[in-house]
Amino acid sequence: METTTDALLAQVTPYAEAGSIRPGRQTDAIDGVCPRIVAEPTTGPELSEILQWASTERLAVGVRGGGTKLTWGRCPGPIDVALSTARLNKVVEHRHGDLTATIEAGATLTQVNEVLGIHRQWLPLDPPWPERATVGGVVATNDSGPSRHWHGAPRDLIIGVTLARPDGALAKAGGIVVKNVAGYDLSRLMTGAFGSLGVIVDATFKVTPVAVSSRTLTVDLDSIEALEPALAAVMASSLTPSAVELACPPARLLVRFQSVDQAVEKQAEEARRLMEAATNGRVLVAADEAEREVWADHASRWDVDGTLLKVSTLPRALVSTLTWLRDQCDRQGLQAAAQGRAGLAVFDVRLDGPAEAQGKLIDALRDRLPIGDGSVVVRRASQDVREVVDPWGPLGDGEGVMQLIKQRFDPDLRLNSGRGPV
């Protein structure tokens, strides 16, 4: 017989008294699933003890941070305990001379960068919703933004992790130094795992100086096809942009340079020359307030409901994939918009329309992009869409090992069950 919520709470009275555990409310729901209990530990050891208890009681545990990606991944099963990182939110240490920082999972990116900013440094991750997205959530989803072009994704920046295993044991891997090959790299294994292997307690990253100067070129082109020469002109040059973004429709390329004044000016000028020679598009160079507006506009395209796909292709196949998407969507009455890392050929697609048609399009796109040559993952979608298409899709040859890793870490499959890739 299932233990009642009150009986469960009674088992953990000390935590309840400390305000770390309380009954779940609808506002605590993870992808619509309301947890019976919410735990909000303030320290790693406390989090570990709560997980240990949940493990002994064989309770299903879901993890939540800032709540910006709760509908990402597959729909979760019933959740007994929602483990929230809301109160585990300190910047533990910013070693500015070493360009590293250790940060608890629940800190938001905005909070982190306020602290790092004191020494004119930042954690160079700019995914959507920085004021709410937490470090734990960004690592768990390996999410990133335009700056990934130069600085990399969370998996490129993480150098150490403290994690709580599903059985509650606290383990660490990596360290606080930027170069370190001692032991298996569990930091990277946790990155992008959607919390399926353990709960991130804190993570240590390489951080970087804030650039003193910045310019952004905006190139508006007549068609998606015209992106090809524009992009080629930048990528084949020896320019060192910090971001190369696309946005369709219309057919826009954003190229950003961040460095010292002179370097930024000269590179922006060189890039403008190359773009004008390669296209007949309009090239605008923005700085200061105008530049902030360009990026705010770019980011605002995110704050729209609908399905969100993450698509990766070979660089050479980027534009042909975009035109294929446009043509297919036109034919099937779907609305699509694409946005993302043009220089890396990794981008997001927003999709709207009947669930069946969306499912068909996603399947067809997956056929076009076999594992290795690309991938299509449904990040966010309504339940209707997720009923007709698996959000993760094929994981390739590695799937067997991935399942075995999950089983070794979480033999009862109780942690974030169902949501992640395994």
Binding site: R74, G77, G97, D98, N142, G152, A153, L163, A169, A171, A173, G175, I176, V177, K179, N180, V181, A182, G183, Y184, D185, L186, R188, L189, T191, G192, A193, L197, T208, P209, S238, S259, V260, Q262, A263, K310, P315, R316, I371, G372, D373, G374, S375, E387, D390, W392, G393, L395, G396, D397, G398, V401, Q403, L404, I405, Q407, R408, P411, L413, P421
Partner: protein, 482 residues
């Protein structure tokens, strides 16, 4: 070794590529770390990925351990053979399979050397960024196993940042492709954990790497200082300016002299030398270079030389990269240590290392990647003097303790291998190590793939724990287990 396994493997790779006789097998008994020796039970040199797969499968079926070996330049005994096992030498798999400039990728077999990759891309204006000092001879497969770095990883990262896909044979003989030329393969980051796993999780048979555009401008300077502390302060000063150079390398008097004797780079006489290299857009390099020069002057550099030509720059690097090998000129034997510290602790740690050497009566040379705090102290000794080798090893171990004291690591790029497994408990708790070995158990529950490396105490894996559960995708009717 079981004769039926020997015949099976001979059948697979051909009699010409099997080494059975004692004397020849003994030539494989060590990698770059000569103090550890173990003659392999059998040596095979497969010529194709398919042969590697069959070899691994045969070993697995026979329950015989196997160790993959590239060029054997590793410095932690990571490729130390197993006396009752098969050594799989990968050097015949040395082809470039696909140079794909349009996608900025190259796919190679693991036996090819690091430098050959860059050489293949160079005519197109591209290069492969990680550049370990042994790049002329070390193999890409070994780089993948060790997550090799090099002088330029300060700015460009390590092997793990540049490998986008591999084909690998799992310890049970299954061949898998993980990742590929496109970024972000879905699912768990298997590449992230495979790269740097020191050959304990799989045998890699193909590697797809990112290529980078050659920088528009490269400027390199050499700054001479009266003390390693002053040079260390200059390194901190450069970082504090917000400058991330492509490389910041330091050498001390002993390694400068050794290098001078061996390859004559014409370095200035000094207690410490910094080599600082900036690369990128012309204007950026010019402006930041002025900043670096100023910081070095403020840190009391007594001489600053700027490479005026590519030839002179190459000479600076020759002097740096030859330093390890050159130590033979100044000491009969030396112990190469590899430890990491937070770079702000450089002056303090260098002082403590010097004190250790003084107490033991041994000379310690220092040549290292100062920008990322990766030290390579060279503890000199004379193995003809009784007890000196042991003393040198003790001093080298004490250096690791210092690194850990200040929050560092026992290895930055040489790996744990067979040599440092005993030090792992100083850096990690039992739970940490146990958790890492959950990964090992998922890949290699029978401990056949390069056993006895990294972990001081192997974990008993047992059966895959837990009951079979239907996967959510299966439940939804979206996928099936075949």
């Amino acid at each position: 070794m079981d004769t039926s396994l020997i015949s099976a493997l001979t059948e697979i790779v051909g009699a010409d590529h099997v080494v059975t006789n004692d004397a020849e097998r003994a030539t494989y008994d060590t990698d770059g770390l000569a103090k550890l020796r173990s003659t392999p039970g059998l040596v095979v040199l497969p010529g194709t990925a398919a042969e590697v797969q069959q070899v691994v499968r045969s070993c697995h079926d026979a329950g015989v351990p196997f160790v993959a070996r590239g060029q054997g330049t590793g410095l932690s005994g990571g490729a130390l053979p197993h006396p009752d096992g098969v050594l799989i030498v990968m050097t015949r798999l040395n082809r470039i399979l696909d140079l794909d400039i349009a996608n900025r990728r190259i796919t190679v077999e693991p036996g090819i050397t690091n430098l050959e990759v860059t050489n293949a891309a160079a005519p197109h204006g591209y290069y492969y960024a990680p550049d370990p000092s042994s790049q002329v001879i070390c193999s890409i497969g070994g780089n993948v196993a060790e997550n090799s770095g090099g002088a330029h990883c300060l700015k460009y990262g390590f092997t793990v940042h540049h490998v986008v896909g591999v084909e690998a044979v799992l310890p049970d003989g299954e061949m898998v492709r993980i990742g590929g030329p496109a970024l972000d393969p879905p699912g768990l980051d298997l590449l992230g954990v495979l790269v740097g796993s020191e050959g304990t999780l799989a045998v890699v048979t193909k590697v797809t790497l990112r290529l980078l555009r050659k920088p528009a401008s490269v400027k390199t300077l050499l700054a001479a200082f009266d003390s390693t502390e002053a040079a260390g302060n200059a390194v901190s000063g450069i970082i504090a300016e917000g400058i991330i150079p492509a490389a910041v390398e330091m050498m001390d008097r002993m390694t400068i002299e050794a290098s001078e004797a061996a390859v004559h780079p014409n370095f200035p006489q000094a207690e410490a030398l910094l080599i600082v290299e900036l690369d990128g857009a012309e204007a950026e390099v010019t402006e930041l270079f002025d900043g670096v020069t100023r910081v070095c002057q403020e840190a009391h550099a007594k001489e600053i030389r700027i490479a005026e030509s590519e030839e002179q720059r190459a000479r600076f690097w020759l002097g740096r990269k030859a330093a390890f090998a050159a130590m033979g000129r100044v000491s009969p034997s030396y112990y190469v240590q590899d430890g990491v510290i937070p770079r702000t602790r450089l002056p303090e740690v260098l002082r403590r290392i010097r004190e250790l050497g003084d107490e033991a009566g041994l000379r310690i040379g220092n040549v290292f990647h100062a920008g990322d705090g990766n030290l390579h102290p060279l503890v000199c000794y004379d193995d003809r003097v009784d007890g000196q080798a042991d003393l040198a090893e003790r001093v080298a171990n004490d250096i690791l303790t210092i690194c850990l004291d200040v929050g560092g690591s026992i290895t930055g790029e040489h790996g744990v291998g067979a040599d440092k497994a005993k030090h792992m408990p100083k850096m990690f708790t039992d739970v940490d190590l146990d958790t890492m070995q959950l990964v090992r158990c998922a890949f290699d529950p029978n401990h056949l793939c390069n056993p006895d490396k990294i972990f001081p105490t192997p974990r008993l894996c047992g059966e895959v724990p837990g009951p079979y559960r239907q996967h959510p995708a299966e439940a939804a009717g979206l996928a099936a287990r075949l």
